[in-house]
């Protein structure tokens, strides 16, 4: 009797529901495993994405364009001569959400009683926003900078302000070495003091309007030390970086964030490695559970398979039957997972859970502040790969029982277990 696949599938479906309890227990196991995997991956995806975006905003964007030697040894002599051209080239590429030019370099800040060296960031405030310049999200005294040509204004980190002994309105003299190697000073007044939460930032932050700095340093009107490119999905950084590298003039290097900030990249890689290990363990356990179910189910139905074989089912068909059962289990498991997880997932992805009590405030990793609220947001690709892993685990664990079913023969039908 040739029984088509459809009939086998239907038969398999009915088979798994013959023993409701067992099936439900197995499905529950699958749901649990998927839930764990989604939780871990979701936390990871969103946390790392957050950290990368955060780092991008504090640093040089998702893709940074700078002088080729700047990464190794940053000085104010190593510039991108025509930043505007680079920005224009970048703006045309897909995924690019925004670009800004900035100048960063070493400066000495001095007041009557104190002085401190630090790295300043010179920006064009009108072209930056919270998306590009994360500092704007901190706690403020006074105000942020208003325009690139604002005169005599500076914004300092809270700890830096304290070390210099200044408050709003105090004057600060900055000293830098200009493009020609000359030492240049300028006067600024504190218009804003910000607390970002990352201790190293608060102690070193010094933000100046780019117009003033360009003049002090003797830069050209479009010159800067870096162009920061922001993209909508940080995973496209490598692609965007390559595309941009083809369009910029010579003498300029284009780096995706993982090359510009290797510490952060390493941290994330390590955490992801840990998560993968954890997920593998979950999947292995899942497979073990499913194997057990299928195997027992097959073993106790040997008589039945024997009879089926006697009435003409081929080895292949019996094998296929059990594999179908395995597939149905996987499917029901996945559907059940989606149903069960949907609710909690929606809650966790919008509200997250607040870890700040556990962490005692905010934490700092690779010089980047971490948000104490954990969101669970999973990328579609990751969700698909979890689903695929579950299906694979289920199918693989079904192989041996299916094979065993295939080997059933009429003699088994006569045996009484």
């Amino acid at each position: 009797m040739a029984t088509g696949n459809a009939k086998l599938a239907t038969m398999a479906w009915r088979n798994i529901w013959r023993n409701r309890r067992r099936t439900l227990i197995t499905v529950f196991g699958i749901v649990f495993g998927v839930f764990m995997a989604v939780l871990m991956t979701g936390i990871g995806d969103s946390t790392y994405g957050q950290m990368i975006d955060h780092a991008a905003r504090m640093g040089g964007g998702h893709v940074v364009v700078q002088h080729p030697d700047y990464q190794r040894l940053p000085t104010l002599k190593k510039t991108v001569p025509d930043a505007e051209a680079v920005e224009a080239a970048a703006a045309e590429l897909p995924h690019v959400e925004g670009t800004t030019s900035r100048i960063t370099g070493a400066a000495m800040l001095a007041t009557a009683k104190h002085s401190q060296g630090t790295f300043f960031i010179a920006i064009d405030p009108e072209r930056e926003s919270e998306d590009t310049f994360g500092i704007l999200e901190g706690r403020w005294e006074g105000e942020p900078l208003t325009s690139a040509d604002q005169e005599h204004a500076v914004v300092l980190g809270a700890v830096m302000a304290e070390n210099l002994g200044v408050k709003l309105g105090s004057k600060v003299v900055y000293t830098v070495t200009d493009k020609g190697g000359e030492i240049v000073s300028g006067l600024v007044r504190v218009v804003g003091i910000v607390t970002t939460g990352a201790p190293s930032l608060d102690a070193s932050l010094c933000v100046l309007p780019i117009g003033e700095i360009r003049r002090s340093l003797g830069y050209g009107p479009h010159e800067s030390t870096m162009v920061a490119v922001f993209i909508d999905d940080h995973r496209e950084a490598d692609a965007v970086s390559e595309a941009l590298a083809a369009r910029v003039p010579e003498g300029v290097a284009v780096l995706p964030w993982n090359e510009a900030q290797p510490d952060l990249a390493g941290f994330i890689a390590m955490k992801q490695g840990g998560a993968v290990v954890f997920e593998v363990i979950i999947m292995v356990l899942l497979a073990a559970g499913i194997f057990n179910t299928l195997f027992v189910s097959v073993m106790e139905r040997l008589r039945e398979f024997g009879i089926m074989s006697a009435i003409g089912f081929s080895q292949r068909q019996l094998f296929a039957l059990v594999m179908w059962e395995s597939s149905w289990l996987a499917l029901v498991g996945l559907v059940g997972s989606v149903v069960a997880i949907a609710g909690p997932y929606i809650h966790l992805s919008t509200n997250g859970f607040d870890m700040s009590k556990m962490m005692g405030g905010s934490a700092e990793v690779a010089g980047v502040a971490m948000d104490p609220i954990l969101y669970v947001r999973i990328h579609p690709e990751s969700a698909l790969s979890i689903a695929a892993a579950v299906v694979l685990a289920t199918l693989v664990s079904g192989l041996y029982p299916a094979w065993r079913a295939g080997r059933a023969n009429p003699a088994d039908a006569i045996r009484v277990v």
């Binding site: 070493a106 400066a107 000495m108 001095a110 007041t111 009557a112 009683k113 104190h114 002085s115 401190q116 060296g117 005599h152 105090s170 004057k171 003299v173 900055y174 000293t175 830098v176 070495t177 000359e182 030492i183 240049v184 000073s185 300028g186 006067l187």
Partner: protein
């Protein structure tokens, strides 16, 4: 901040570089009346000029007293115009040969012990010069007081039995100087500076410079002793005293090079 910068004082008034540009002063130009608005500027220019001789060569002693130690150095100095100066340590033996060379906008420190020269970078400008209460910046800053400050005659009085003018210099809004005001006290008759007090913008007195032992060599009059004192109650100070000096010395430009330094 490196420890050895201790309490850095930046961007001192022109008087600080007096020592190194070489003091010397000859009366010049017409003296306006003291009530006229040009009087303060004229006096400040005179003072600035006083410290810009054509060239000089001399030997001086510097004593630095801090909370933990007191140190005395004997140094030899050469200067030419505003932009060149060389100061070399003669004693103590441990540091003999170490020197500071100012050539134009660049400042170098030559370390005799290791034979190495370090160019003083922007970040190092705020640090102490030769371990004293002067900073590297004090040496190089060459802007005239008039450029950075508006000036007014605010008081007349008597100090050490000598009648004095007191000028208040107020930092111009754009000037890159850390001080809010500087109070310059000069002798009325001779226009020799007696002292300068530096205030921050809140009006707190942060440091004081005192000029004493005026002497004349040839046709130049200069302060033989200069004392810088932080006004934080610590009792610390740096005192520089000229032992001998001569002016209008023939000094070729090559004097102010590292090669020449090493050959000494």
């Amino acid at each position: 901040m490196p420890e050895y910068a201790r309490r850095p004082f930046l961007l001192g008034a022109g008087a600080a570089l007096a020592l190194l540009a070489g003091p010397g002063w000859a009366h010049a130009a017409e003296r306006p009346a003291k009530d006229s608005p040009e009087f303060p500027a004229w006096v400040m220019n005179q003072i600035d000029d006083m410290h810009r001789g054509d060239s000089s060569h001399g030997v001086m002693s510097m004593t630095v007293k801090t909370e933990h130690w007191t140190r005395s150095l004997t140094m030899e100095s050469w200067s030419k115009g505003e932009d060149y100066s060389l100061v070399r340590i003669l004693a103590p033996k441990k540091e003999k040969g170490t020197a500071t060379l100012e050539a134009g906008e660049d400042l170098f420190t030559y370390l005799a012990k290791t034979g190495r020269t370090v160019k003083v970078s922007g970040a190092m400008m705020g640090s102490a010069w030769m371990g004293s209460h002067f900073t590297n910046n004090d040496l190089v800053k060459s802007s005239r007081l008039a450029d950075a400050y508006t000036m007014a005659l605010t008081k007349e009085g008597v100090l050490h039995g000598v009648p004095q003018y007191v000028f208040t210099l107020t930092a111009k809004p754009d000037a890159p100087v850390v001080w809010g005001t500087i109070e310059v006290t000069v002798e009325q008759a001779t226009l020799r500076p007696t002292r300068e007090i530096f205030y921050d913008e809140e009006g707190e007195a942060v440091r004081a410079m005192q000029f004493a032992d005026y002497r004349t060599v040839g046709d130049r009059t200069f302060a033989g002793t200069l004392t810088v004192r932080p006004l934080d109650g610590s009792g610390e100070y740096t005192r520089v005293t000229y032992d001998s000096i001569e002016f209008d010395v023939k000094l070729p430009d090559s004097t102010f090079t590292v090669q020449h330094l090493k050959s000494l």
